[in-house]
Amino acid sequence: MKLLNRTSYILITTILFVVFFGSIAFYIILKSTTDKEIKKELNSRMEYVIHEFRLNPTVFGSLSLPGYITVEEGSPETKSMPFFRDTILLDELDNSYKQYKSLTADVEVNSEFYRINVYKSLSVSNQLIERITLIVTIIIIVFILFIYLLNRFIFERVWADFFVTIDKLKSYNVDLDSSIHFEASEIAEFNLLNSALNQMIVNLREDYLNVKEFTGNISHEIQTPLSIIRLKCELLLQSMPLSNKQAELIRDIQKTNSRLSRLNKTLVLLTKIDNKQFPQKEKISVDEIIRRHLEDFTSLATLRNIELKYSKNADIYVFGDATLIDVLLVNLIKNAVLHNIDNGKIFIETKDNEIIISNTGEEKELQAKKIFDRYTKFSGKNDSLGLGLSLVKKICDLYRFKISYKYENNLHIFSLLF
């Protein structure tokens, strides 16, 4: 829910709530006040009538004016205290029934009992109450509308700077912009927000650049000592005579060294992908990449009498970083060779927007869920780092390619949908 709607909603429901109960109270108070006034008036009128009646009973004895005053004969048995009554009388002028309030009093004049009723029409006061209620309601509705519009207006005025800040944040590129220049706002809170954001951006960018520099340098910084170890081992190996045992030890050092070096390269690559350090995108032909490596892979495959067949049914072009696309395809084909069996088969097929690489291998389905995890090794091959497929997955995620694995007809099938 938008902030504006939220505040309007709260404001209006609160007002409606207050207005509802307020108008009920208003109505009750108004009603009881007019009631009191009417009763007061009836009382004073009755006093006046009785007073006049006592002075000159004959005048009023037979007098009766419907809607104003009536005098009937009473009896001592029915004599009671004066009481009020609501009643409806026929107005003969416009032939309609109207509401009246009446006061009835019994009086004794010259040992005769009379019952006097005085009436007061309620139609005027009722009309007044209705009018007042209507006017108040209209005022309230106008008031609510006004509040709503005012709230909207204030919102747009007050929050304008906030949306400027949001727009600036959206267009911020951590790689290019060192900080964001926010215009000073009239509102202190937004200035506070802007300065906090700027502080955060400066810190974030520093971290980002540090990580970027670190990953950029780590390759060099780690490869150099590894290179030194490798070269020293090689020199040591040439320094004859060496016993078989010594030579083997040197070779073991070299092997471990190579492994460390490959591990470093792969982890740096993974980190770089995570840090989105491959912003370049160019049009790359999948066929071209496959053909570039096909010869090497064919020669590797032939050595184990593995049949490698490449059928190109579609010209696939993808947009991405040349190095990454290369790593992606090479890793998939390499796995097909590496985890194959002697006299096995590899089929690489392109169609529409898809490349399918299927290979024979261990006759057991791999766990599709774990297959792309880091350091997952299904083969007992010690030299494998277990990072190849997680690298593949990472590159696929980066470019939103879909990679899937299935095991069918004794074939391990990887399908890559661009």
Partner: protein, 225 residues
Amino acid sequence: MKILIVEDEIALQESINSYLKVEGYNCESALTFNEGQEKICMYPYDCLLIDVNLPDGNGLDLIKLAKSQNVTAGIIVISARETIDDRITGLNFGADDYIVKPFHLSELNARIYSLLRRIHFKGEDQIVFNEIEVNATERLVMINNSPLDLTKKEYDLLLYFLSNKNRVLTKESICEYLWGDHADNAGTLDFVYTHIKNLRKKMIDKGGQNYIHTMYGVGYKFTTK
């Protein structure tokens, strides 16, 4: 043959130096960009080995400098960077070859050997070793004047051995030389044996000597002894 090694890491530079000296090269070294710049301008070299990452400059600028000075030396870029872009940049700047850290000395040696042959024997790039004759331009191998039919990998392997005679070559280094990027394919190690067996057999069949000796547990050595 005079080689200049521009490399800031002393241990690396010394190792390269001592390996290449045995091959009969006359090596000089520069530890900084400035020193490299000075030496390239002052002395003639046959080959320049240039590390891209130098403390006081970019090695690629040294290539530019060498090219602007019309230096005829072959240039090999040593790079720790991985991306295809970096390699292409090196070559575009005028380098003849590149090698990525960590490399094997035997591989560097083979590349220098091949580069120098290309520069000095234009059109007639030949290697002769006893009864073996290699025409590197046409990729032809003759043994006792009869042609030897080799696969591409076997040919590369033979050239690698001829470039590193009397050296112990580990399976790993052979692997990396033959397969480059795909050397980390663990399966390749076993294939080295197959390739060597085939090469050895083909050479002996043509009446050649068996020069490839197995060093148990380590690798191979191409030697007359």
